[in-house]
Symmetry: C7
Subunit: 74 residues, 7 copies
């Protein structure tokens, strides 16, 4: 039984809703479309949330992986 | 059917309007001319927007990818 | 007798509770599911703790290794 | 017809006036003499501008690419 | 007689007490268990000290090397 | 006629006076002794200048290239 | 006559007193024991100096090169 690796979580998240906490404290919520080895991620129906409050609807975004603190399936 | 990857979104954005959120909080709006593997991007008719307000028209700019938080087609 | 190396501690922590101190001062507590060579870590039943106080329950998260100050088995 | 790439803009800027926005908010204006793959750039008759106001004339400078936010032909 | 190199100091510190000054100003004190080429270090009986005052006992920790300012045998 | 490259400016500066603006806003003035591909530079008779005022005479220094904003022959 | 390179200054500093200015503004004074290609340096009889005032005697330290602004023989 091979051990799961961190990117397996991203793989299973394709087409699913996630919450992404950025290093600057902002949360991005939306559906994962694709990702690459740098954790660059395309999110559909992205929403920007600050302090739990919806700040902006962003449609589709390409988020650079280096800005990410963590990703959590919701 | 091959899965789309994040840079495919950039590829489809060539000639299209995008909004680019920078790490420093500034937004750049304009038309994508070209990009490379570091996400360095050339934008035409670029506008600098801060807090939703037009701050400067910049014509064509070459933006270093490392400053980007996310890119969103508009 | 081969000397233990730092990642051995992570290896032994799979399935165990750890406390992860982030560079931004936040603590993440939870059970290690997997990790990779960049110290990207998947944590189950993750809790976000600030100044010793529970701030949020996060379920499963994929934490980028570059944000970590230290990891401590609890 | 090969697609233009971001560094083509720099190539065409040799001998031309550009405005370079630095990450620290300062603008450098002057004529591009040369550049390399790290976007290190030599600028002639460089002027340092802060908040639209001329702060210093710098003659020729070698600017490290890592400090650049964007470059704009003027 | 070959010249000593910086990592030799770490090698001799295995099983010994050290004080580690972090970039954020915190001191970590404890016994070195292991380290790797990135200066990731496992410390036993680690204590967190701020402004000379004991702030927390941390048991065993895996500290990411990138956070270290200096290491001093005590 | 081969095009000059940014490091040619450094090459011509050996034995000459330069002003080096650091990322932290400090200026270092002095004579270039040597440099390498990381822009690490040895400066003789170095002077530290802050807000145009001489702050310290430093004799010879080895400056790490990563701290440099720009270098200007004077 | 081969040109000196920056690391030659470090080489000649072995066994000599140096002052090391850190990026965070602290000065470290002491005798160079060894160094490597990352400018990681071991300093003996190290003293921590802030604003010209002795803050702490540190004995031997291994200083990570990435924290260094410049090194000056004294």
């Amino acid at each position: 039984m091979p051990q799961d690796r961190p990117f397996d979580l991203l793989n299973k998240s394709i087409g699913q809703q996630v919450m992404i906490r950025l290093k600057n404290g902002t949360d991005i919520r939306g559906k994962v479309v694709s990702f690459d080895a740098h954790m660059n991620i395309v999110i559909e129906n992205a929403e920007e949330v600050e302090e739990g409050e919806l700040k902006a609807r962003l449609n589709t975004i390409l988020l650079r992986g280096g800005n990410i603190l963590f990703i959590s399936p919701v």
